[in-house]
């Protein structure tokens, strides 16, 4: 036995180990993933909901630009029961990589939706099945929640479909434009108006939990910031000071403070208002124009725009004020900076050589990337997952209109958000509970 051990040791030392074949992949494809979302199964009383929910789920996923729906006309097999085994071969044959099955049940005003996601080529279910319940009036929200779950399971990203957007709905000719606040689903559906058009409103902003909205209104004859309770639509003015104008408000991440710009004698500076004590703190004191503050997700810093260098640029300072650091470096003028919910990037509006751009940069100003280019693009707002940006695009000419667009942070998938009329100043809500 000792001899055998000795032989084995010698063999181990002298013979090369059996090397497994190793291959490195560095350049894959970037293309939308084909998926199928057959109409959900009606398990009783669902009626049209079974189809409508599946269509909203498919629309949400396809709208990201990361997925591509395989049409029902290509299906080889049908989903006849929620618990029926999946005929993977049939779905592989039409190159479907992800399959979403679901079922809807309705009883009275209540409706419940359940779903599963399958990876067709590995033959595995992705995560457990989930079920949502609610009233029939909230069927679109349930569809968005299903899509959110599917999106997160496949991509690993946070979700954003079950969210709302507050914006300014415009009407009338360009030189006599009437503006009022409205909210809608992220995809433009379910528009609800929050104010009438008796006074001009601008720059609405959701609170971190979506229960309040800050905005600027000319109701008093000059710009003034207001706070609206979304549940009751009650409105109150903030930071009123005689002889001043206040505008461009933004909540702190904890929702307890508001940073905004206050203009006095032709000069504007940034201020911080504590909503509990109504104590006002001046953050900047400069003869230049400072405006458009936006908090970092941890609340420790504020990014804002200033022309203190002689040209509109982006700066970052502590949330309690103090020395600011310029972060925009390129040619042109930068404005309306907004910190990403992830904290890694800043979205901005850039004007250069007669064109406007929506762009993103790292928080140190590096890796600037312009995502859009047009006659007038401005006012970016981040989706709750920090992957998509919505903004206002206005076309040229007397007949030009403001419209809402969204674009992936990579610059792909530029899409118009279809609204009833001209729309501007979008602000994304957090993901709804």
């Amino acid at each position: 036995m000792t001899l055998l051990r000795l032989i084995a040791a010698l063999v181990l030392m002298t013979l090369p180990a059996h090397a497994e074949l190793t291959i490195r992949f560095t350049d894959g494809e970037i293309e939308p993933m084909p998926f199928a979302a057959p109409n959900f199964i009606d398990e009783g009383g669902a009626g049209q909901f079974a189809t409508d929910i599946a269509r909203v789920v498919a629309s949400d996923l396809q709208g990201t630009g990361l997925f591509r729906e395989v049409g029902a006309e290509a299906y080889i097999s049908q989903i006849t029961s929620f618990d029926a085994p999946i005929a993977y071969a049939d779905w592989k044959a039409i190159n479907t990589q992800a399959l979403i099955t679901g079922a809807v049940q309705a009883s009275g005003d209540q409706i419940s939706v359940k779903f599963r996601v399958f990876d067709v080529f590995t033959g595995e279910q992705l995560g457990d099945g989930l079920q949502f319940a609610g009233t029939q009036a909230t069927w679109r929200r349930m569809a968005h929640k299903v899509a959110d779950a599917v999106y997160s399971r496949i991509t690993g990203e946070g979700a954003y479909f079950d969210s709302r957007v507050v914006f300014v709905a415009e009407s009338g000719p360009k030189n006599q434009r009437q503006k009022r606040l409205a909210v809608m689903d992220y995809d433009g559906a379910n528009v609800q108006y929050l104010t009438d058009s008796s006074s001009i409103v601008l720059a609405p902003r959701f609170s971190p939990n979506g229960d309040r909205i800050l905005f600027t209104s000319y109701a008093s004859g000059f710009p003034q910031i207001y706070l609206m309770d979304v549940g009751t639509l009650a409105v109150r003015a903030l930071g009123e000071q005689p002889g001043t104008m206040t505008f461009s408000p933004r909540f702190s991440p904890d929702g307890n403070r508001v940073a905004f710009a206050l203009e006095r004698d032709g000069n504007s500076d940034l201020y911080l208002l504590d909503l509990a004590t109504m104590q006002l703190t001046q953050l900047t004191n400069s003869p230049s124009i400072e405006t458009a503050p936006s908090f970092s997700p941890d609340g420790s810093q504020i990014v804002f725009e200033s022309d203190r260098s002689g040209e509109q640029q982006i700066y970052i300072m502590s949330a309690v004020g103090g020395e600011a650091t310029r972060v925009s470096n390129g040619k042109g003028r930068y404005g309306t900076p907004v910190w990403s919910p992830r904290g890694d990037m800043i979205a901005f509006t850039k004007q250069n050589e007669g064109r406007f751009h929506i762009g993103v940069m790292m928080t140190d100003g590096g890796e600037e990337r312009l995502l859009t280019s047009s006659f007038l693009d401005e006012g970016p707002t981040w989706a709750p997952n920090g992957r998509v940006i919505m903004f206002t695009r206005e076309s040229a000419g007397a007949e030009g209109q403001a419209q809402l667009f969204s674009v992936d942070v990579t610059g792909r998938n530029l899409r118009q958000i279809v609204t009833e009329g001209p729309s501007s100043d979008p602000a994304w809500s957090p993901l709804l509970p």
């Binding site: 181990l12 074949l21 894959g28 997925f67 496949i154 312009l370 998938n413």
Partner: protein, 363 residues
């Protein structure tokens, strides 16, 4: 005549001859022609007028001229408060703008043949939903109209292309944002970006070639004895290494064959690579490198795929990166498996596949 008189006469005659004929013999200089110039008288006032109109000559500079260094682009600095005094530090002069020498005649300006700059190959995923023409047509739909109609001739047979309903979309390695796609004003005579060079193919692992040894017929080993010895050695090896034997290849006599050639390895890489779709991965998953261990059947089909390690991300992002890699391996195997040399099964029965999307990261 005395001797002195004759000597004097001779010297005088010589002197006279030298004076008369000396230049003829000793000098052949031709006198230079005389240059004549016509002049005219001018008054003092006329002279001052001429001097005033004359161009000023540059002062001669004895020192060699050194081109001033171009001023480096100033690094972005936080702007000092405007109330702060300006530091009295001499600033370097701006470098003069270099100018090309003027041509005597106006030269034609070279223009590119194409009226529009070269554009990256369009990807229909960008702005997949066509933008309403009324909103901003020039910024989105700026594809030049082709000079030649692509319509079929009236008498040409109509050919309908049978496309599978679920055929994969065309993908491209270059991401064209709208900001890039609509930048038509600036001349782009050269491509502004190029595809990243592909990594050098993995060098095939060189394995020692096993040469058959001709044994004499009478030296044929006894199979039973051989098997017993092999089992004993295998057991001893397992004991020595404390490593559990794996199912794949353990105790089996897998055909090793000659080493996998570079083209065989590259063929496998390409076969899997075309199914590796990272388009739907999260930003974090795109920063995650995963290593997959794939066990293969002799038919070239993957029988087991597991993640052995990852780096650069979280557990969740590694899971998504693993799923994308596994999907690629399973999807491109198809019904018939990968086309691999059966006589080298021992070399590819287990594959280590490293999926590294760092080069495709979208930051």
């Amino acid at each position: 005549m005395d001797r002195g008189t004759r000597l004097s006469a001779g010297l005088h005659v010589g002197l006279i001859l030298w004076i008369a004929l000396g230049d003829f013999f000793f000098s052949n200089d031709v006198p230079p022609p005389i240059e004549a110039a016509s002049v005219s008288l001018i008054t003092d006032a006329q002279l001052k007028g001429l001097e005033a109109r004359a161009p000023k000559a540059d002062k001669p500079d004895d020192k060699p001229k050194v081109a001033p260094k171009p001023k480096p682009a100033p690094k972005p600095q936080p702007d000092a408060p405007q109330t702060a005094p300006v530091a009295p530090v001499a600033q370097p002069l701006e470098a003069p703008t270099p100018t090309a020498p003027l041509a005597a005649q106006e030269q034609p300006i070279p223009v590119p043949d194409s009226p529009t700059p070269a554009k990256p190959r369009p990807i229909d995923r960008v702005a997949a939903v066509p933008v309403d023409d009324k909103t901003d047509t020039p910024e989105i739909a700026d594809t030049p109209t082709p000079a030649v109609s692509d319509q079929a001739a009236p008498d040409a047979p109509v050919v309908t292309e049978n496309k599978p309903a679920a055929s994969p979309q065309e993908a491209a390695p270059v991401i064209v944002t709208e900001a890039v796609d609509t930048k038509v004003d600036a001349p782009q005579l050269a491509p502004t970006s190029s595809r990243r060079p592909q990594a050098r193919p993995e060098k095939p692992i060189e394995k020692p070639v096993e040469k058959p040894v001709d044994l004499p017929a009478d030296a044929a080993p006894d199979p039973a004895t051989d098997q017993a010895a092999a089992d004993a050695i295998a057991a001893a090896l397992a004991e020595a290494t404390d490593a559990p034997a794996t199912d794949t290849g353990a105790g089996q006599n897998l055909p090793e064959g000659p080493p996998m050639s570079g083209s065989e390895v590259e063929g496998l890489r390409i076969a899997i690579n075309k199914c590796w779709n990272v388009g739907q991965l999260s930003s974090e998953a795109m920063r995650t490198v995963v290593t997959l261990r794939v066990e293969m059947s002799e038919a070239g089909k993957p029988t087991s795929v597991e993640m052995t390690s990852y780096e650069g991300g979280s557990d969740a992002s590694a899971q998504k990166a693993f799923e994308a890699g596994k999907r690629a391996v399973m999807r491109c195997a198809g019904a018939n498996g990968y086309d691999l040399p059966a006589d080298k099964y021992g070399q590819w029965n287990v594959l280590n596949l490293i999926f590294d999307p760092a080069g495709m990261r979208l930051r």
